[in-house]
């Protein structure tokens, strides 16, 4: 296996940042208990006019897009046959698995009748016309596929086990290796379907979403930007976890990833701009209210992301790669928040800002996710040898 060099990161598991993240998560979990006891309204600012808040938009829609690294990497390595990016695949897949699992988990406190979520699995309740149904089914299948994709890393840890368990684990490992191509191609198809679907959710909302964002092409916008955000996530993860970027060889790889990211973000920018011009919504961007402010903030973040990785010279400076990745992630996230929160205007003057407990639940879930990621890379062979800090 190509992953033979992957090893757990050495060092203490519960470092100060991990403990801090776990504390934030604990506060979030406390508010979750209140949510389950007294209902959604007790902890959030959600109302009948603003039924989707930060839980669904940030934890689910933005969260799923930010961890598209697994999708972007699988695409690059296996479809475009760029094997040299292989070292990015496992950390990206792990982040994807965690991100998607937490997105799925978030639904269990965001939806009002969480026990009804299991109706997604009962054919009599299926509703094929619904974009949300398609997204739900695809995300569930994708979590299963991601588990299979990351399974070799878990098995490698227990590969030396004696007895029947060890033998069957090794058998399963070889089975996974043989049918990897079937798993990987599902791992590319499913995100393509549900990431576009996460945008497609906006279509039925019709005029309730500001024309600056509403469009029949909103699915395409989400799909293209999520790939760029995935590359951005891989780059930023590399910078946070390793110092190999000083090495010219890895620098070269990150440079290439940044080029892909830039290209996708550029296509996204052109698509968005041409759509705003075509629909005639541009005057809305000059109303100097919070909607137009948010629109320009999004555009500037996207352009900054492109600007930092604009050409070869700019990409030679590691800081630029990092900033390019970061701005792409933030810009893409703001785009999603703009579509579903800022741009969602069922009537004029609707304002929504999440309450403190609501924000703590959102941040707690993100913190828990990052803490688990930090713990897993120190326990399982995820990162390749030599790239540990």
């Amino acid at each position: 296996m190509a992953h033979a060099q992957a090893k757990p990161v050495e060092g203490k598991i519960f470092t100060a940042p991990v403990i801090f993240l776990l504390h934030v998560a604990a506060v979030g979990l406390f508010f979750l208990i209140i949510r389950y006891m007294y209902g959604i309204g007790a902890v959030s600012n959600l109302t009948d006019h603003m039924p989707w808040g930060v839980w669904k938009i940030i934890n689910v829609i933005v969260g799923a897009a930010l961890v598209c690294g697994g999708y972007a990497c699988a695409f690059t390595v296996y479809v475009f046959n760029q094997g040299r990016y292989h070292r990015f695949v496992r950390p990206a897949l792990l982040l994807s698995l965690l991100g998607y699992s937490f997105a799925g988990f978030s639904l269990f406190y965001d939806v009002g009748r969480y026990w009804g979520l299991f109706n997604f699995l009962i054919p009599k309740y299926w509703q094929a016309n619904s974009v949300l149904f398609e997204v739900g089914i695809c995300v569930m299948s994708y979590i299963a596929i991601l588990t299979l994709e990351i399974a070799p890393a878990i098995i490698e840890k227990f590969a030396d086990m004696e007895g029947p368990v060890g033998i069957s684990l090794n058998k399963f490992y070889r089975f996974l290796d043989r049918f990897l191509f079937l798993i990987i191609s599902l791992g590319v198809l499913l995100p393509t379907m549900h990431q576009s679907g996460l945008g497609g959710l906006a279509v039925v909302m019709g005029q309730k979403i500001s024309p600056l964002w509403q469009s029949p092409l909103v699915s395409l916008h989400h799909l293209v930007s999520c790939i760029a955000m995935g590359y951005g996530c891989v780059i930023v993860t590399e910078f946070v976890l390793t110092d190999e970027y000083r090495d010219r060889q890895y620098m070269h790889l990150l440079d290439k990833l940044a080029t892909f990211m830039k290209n996708f973000m550029f296509v996204f920018f052109i698509l968005r701009m041409s759509e705003v011009l075509r629909s005639g919504a541009l005057p809305l961007a000059f109303h100097y209210d919070h909607i137009s402010f948010s629109f320009w903030a999004e555009m500037i973040l996207i352009l900054l992301g492109i600007f930092y990785v604009r050409d070869e010279n700019a990409r030679k400076i590691p800081r630029n790669l990092f900033l390019g990745g970061l701005f792409t992630m933030v810009g893409g996230s703001l785009y999603r928040i703009n579509v579903y929160i800022i741009g969602f205007q069922p009537f004029k003057g609707l304002s929504y800002f999440p309450s403190v407990p609501e924000l703590f639940i959102t941040m707690g879930m993100i913190s828990l996710q990052l803490a688990i990621f930090a713990i897993i890379i120190k326990t399982f062979p995820i990162m390749e040898k030599g790239d540990h800090k």
Binding site: L107, G116, N119, W126, E134, F181, V204
Partner: protein, 296 residues
């Protein structure tokens, strides 16, 4: 010459780009034109004529009474008539008073759309259009995702945010309490002036058109719900323009048509996803298994 070829290349690229951007709209418009949903003979609805309404709120009381809906208190535990639709109030009479003295009552409730967005969006078939055109809610199917609230162009469905096990609340035209089976609704039965009448949608439309034709001076000239958002089961006549009465200006098709048009084009018999999957699997197989040999 080189310049020329570059220019034509650029033209081609721009043309292709523009085509890619615009083609969804062209095909979408055709798709919409073909598939617009129509009123069926059996579909029932209501006609509310604001010019006949005296604002007595008998319909509100009857609705609360029949459906066992709670009274709405303010923060001092004093109760008053509700100000808007909520998870405790499924229908409401409001009064519009303009600056120039024009005024009109208006009843709000679920519109029971011909092509309902909530039904199209609901992932677990909790909202369904019944045989008689009524949009009903199934508590066993609902997962409380509130996509219906996000989608509804009239923002009608309400959720019980203050309850640990909240329900979606909206008018089900008394299909939930057995009155509809007897051929009536609580609110229309309670109406003393005939401002609200219950009947088959197509007949109600005829009545509304006759009223418009006989007394054009009494009305604003529009039957709200005849075509709005693909048509609604509850239709309205009023003297004051509907925008002033709180109705949004909607296109003549439901946004569910756009959404379903896109979905059905991409996922038509699942052919495209399956083909893409086969292609991806082939490429991945080649890259993983053939590539390996080269490495060794």
């Amino acid at each position: 010459m080189r310049k020329n070829s570059r220019r034509s290349f650029l033209k081609g690229v721009i043309g292709a780009g523009a085509g890619a951007v615009f083609s969804p709209f062209v095909s979408f418009k055709n798709a919409v034109a073909e598939k617009l949903k129509e009123r069926r003979e059996k579909d029932v609805g209501m006609l509310y004529d604001a010019t006949k309404c005296i604002g007595c709120k008998a319909c509100e009381v009857a609705c609360k009474d029949t459906n066992n809906m709670p009274i709405e208190y303010d923060e001092n535990h004093l109760w008053d008539a509700p100000r808007d639709l909520s998870s405790k109030t499924m229908t409401i009479i409001k009064l519009y008073k303009g600056e120039n003295g024009e005024q009109s009552f208006i009843k709000r409730q679920c519109m029971h759309c011909v092509d309902p967005v909530c039904v199209s969006g609901c992932p677990t078939s909790a909202l369904k259009k019944l045989e008689n055109g009524v949009i009903a809610w199934d508590k066993d199917a609902c997962c409380g995702c509130r996509y219906c609230q996000m989608g509804c162009p009239f923002s009608i469905p309400k959720y019980e945010f203050d309850a640990a096990y909240g329900k979606i609340v909206k008018c089900e035209m008394c299909s939930n309490n057995g009155l509809l089976a007897a051929g009536k609704t609580a609110c229309s039965e309670a109406c003393p002036t005939g401002a609200l009448i219950f009947g088959k949608q197509k007949q109600l439309l005829k009545i509304a058109r006759q009223r418009l034709y006989k007394h054009p001076e009494k009305y604003n000239g529009k039957i709200f719900g005849e075509f709005d958002s693909g048509g609604t089961g509850v239709i309205y006549l009023a003297s004051v323009p509907f925008e002033k009465l709180g109705f949004p200006h909607l296109p003549e098709y439901s946004s569910a048509r756009i959404s379903e048009g896109i979905q059905h084009t991409i996922y038509h018999n699942m052919i495209a996803p399956i083909l893409v999957y086969c292609g991806l699997a082939l490429i991945a197989f080649k890259n993983i298994h053939m590539g390996k040999e080269k490495e060794e």
